[in-house]
Symmetry: C2
Subunit: 393 residues, 2 copies
């Protein structure tokens, strides 16, 4: 979907320019105008401001066929840092990224139990993590906390709970953003992959539940109440398994990490060989996935069946949105990703509605366990680079 | 989803301004700036051009608390006309609209059989229809032809068939657009309802097959190859009925007009009472729908079951995209719309993921049989008002 008109020189243009410079690594002002469709004067103004703020810098020049050499500009990676906390199914992952999306810090810590001391606990973690990294404090732009749907303070989250987010913000003295894990992971993939804004894509996020995130023209698609992406509650069987959500046949009941572990525990053969009952969901899932990858037929059959179920829901999504590109991410894809990818590719090749017009690229995330945390940190950096602009709109 | 930044004064701004004036009926320049976020000088320039081109005119003034009265501007309805041809399952509907989206001409004619004489036949129909309406020829801006997926010349349509579209364009001496019926219907609903650009919505289009159209922030969502909206190929049963598309359980096989008529013909009781075998699909469907609305229990049960199946797929879509508003349209909704709406509302109230945060409005189209034709004509008018801008991007 090509952009067809010049965007205004508003806060969105700053975000656009920074995105383009970031994905190009180094680029001239003339090329920036070509790519963004903004006017030369707009580009010059914004580039001047960004240089003054230290966000970008000039890094050399290249010869030009039209005469004088063009100066190249690049992101100044260490000028801004963002921190992301991902509250995963069993652990918490802390990520720090620089302005190019490069991970400059990563730490896995236990989750904080209960909500009573949540704000205090997360603020303490933030201090410990950033102090340990020895990043210049004044360049840390804030914290984003991502979790499955109901995290306190997420836009559209449970009423009356924004206090937790605000409490953390007060304790650390920096802005705090709350976001859905699957949506953040999609943004994380957008940043880590240097995808261009024209390439829309969908992320399948496999964790305790199943989520999705959609990046259309460089922006997260959010829906009426910031709840878009509930792939787990796409029904694949109208008369199927009951789901706590009230619906039947939700794919989450067949293909999530939780569903796989339930099935594995119910399999006498598997549960005899693997200590599944003694292990929490995330660990037990990894055991099954590791066994499957290593050739255990029962474990493989179980994951392959989950992958077949997930493929049905994802194909429906591809048909509905005519997606050309999918990224499989989330902790559930870390070990078993290739099993899911193989099934999904085969199913799409056989059944996707647009298959005669274009292929559907199915990619595995390079950092499936960290994508949500990276995306969280990216949210912070993005908000800091273009304060008036909320790309997640 | 509120717009968060000022759009540029490009061709898109013309389209935006015309949309806003159209939905406001009459508006002042100051209000236009407030609503669009464009600067006063941009508004003044564009409004001046639009007045010079006769697209809008000043229609009076209102007092202002700040002093001098503000002039009101309105669309000049008869300054431009668009023609839309909808190739329905059995008939062809010709629609002419003015610049406010008002229908100024409507005619139902037989479909043209075969593709051999298609271009000639459609060009003849265009001449007969527009001549019959006695619209000023120089104000007719073009023709849009909408049909289910594979219409020749639709963007992303079958390769090597654009000749038909080009042939018609040459014969009538005007631009010809080809488009998918469900996508056009969504645009038709956007125009007829004067929905504001901030209200995103999804259209469920029930015809021989099932389609959907999504309008996000005033623009049709198209996907990677103009194929978005294949709601009919959302699977509601991974082990269900085989579909010619290659997949299983596609909701189209359970809830389309075609599926309903197949089920009705297989019902000995119903097919004894209604002359279904002697009637083509669209007519037979209407018979069943009319019987259901008039209290025939077998006909009602059949449509109610179809509606329950469709509700499963639509709820998946609502969960995936967090839609707050749905419009049910297409010929299949003309008589049986309330049966589908009742089922869908009940299913969403019980199972939609965001139901605790917001209700999901389910509306019936005011012109379910004509929405695709109206949307086709709207595509023409939209393209004429802002030539460089393709809102359907």
């Amino acid at each position: 979907m090509a952009r067809r008109e010049a965007p205004a020189a508003g806060p969105g243009s700053r975000a656009l320019i920074v995105d383009v410079i970031r994905s190009a690594v180094a680029i001239s002002r003339v090329e920036l105008a070509d790519v963004t469709g903004l006017t030369q004067p707009s580009i010059s103004n914004i580039v001047r401001d960004l240089i003054a703020e230290g966000i970008i810098h000039e890094t050399g020049s290249i010869g030009s066929i039209r005469g004088k050499p063009r100066k190249l500009i690049s992101i100044n990676p260490a000028s801004r840092f963002g921190i992301g906390f991902h509250l995963g199914p069993d652990i918490m992952t802390c990520i720090a990224i620089d302005l190019t999306g490069g991970v400059v810090g990563r730490e896995v810590v236990p989750r904080i139990a209960g909500t009573g001391a949540l704000a205090e606990g997360l603020a303490d973690r933030f201090d410990a993590f950033t102090t340990g990294l020895a990043l210049p404090k004044e360049r840390i732009e804030g914290l984003a906390i991502v979790a499955p749907t109901p995290f306190p303070g997420r836009p559209g989250g449970p009423a009356g709970t924004d206090g937790v987010r605000a409490d953390i913000a007060e304790r650390i003295g920096l802005p705090v953003i709350a976001e859905n894990d699957a949506a953040a992971a999609a943004l994380g993939e957008f940043w880590s992959r240097r995808v261009s804004r024209e390439q829309s894509f969908g992320c399948v996020y496999l964790s305790a539940g199943i989520g999705a995130g959609f990046v259309f023209n460089g922006a997260l698609f959010r829906g009426a109440s910031f709840d878009a992406g509930e792939l787990g509650h796409v029904s694949i069987d109208y008369a199927g398994r009951e789901c706590p959500c009230g619906n039947r046949g939700c794919v989450e009941r067949y293909a999530s990490m939780t569903a796989v572990v339930e099935a594995a525990r119910a399999d006498p053969d598997l549960s005899e060989r693997l200590p599944l009952d003694a292990t929490a969901t995330a660990g037990a899932y990894d055991m099954v996935a590791r066994a499957a990858v290593n050739g255990d037929p029962a474990a493989f059959a179980l994951l392959d069946r989950a992958a077949a179920h997930l493929s049905v829901a994802v194909t429906s999504v591809v048909n509905l949105l005519d997606l050309g590109r999918l990224v499989l991410t989330g902790p559930g894809m870390a070990l078993a990703g290739s099993i899911y990818a193989r099934r999904l590719r085969a199913h799409l090749e056989r059944t996707a509605h647009a298959r005669q017009r274009h292929g559907i690229v199915v990619e595995l995330s390079a950092q499936p366990r960290d994508a949500a945390g990276i995306g969280a940190a990216a949210l912070v950096v993005q908000a800091s680079v273009a304060p008036g602009h909320t790309p997640a709109a």
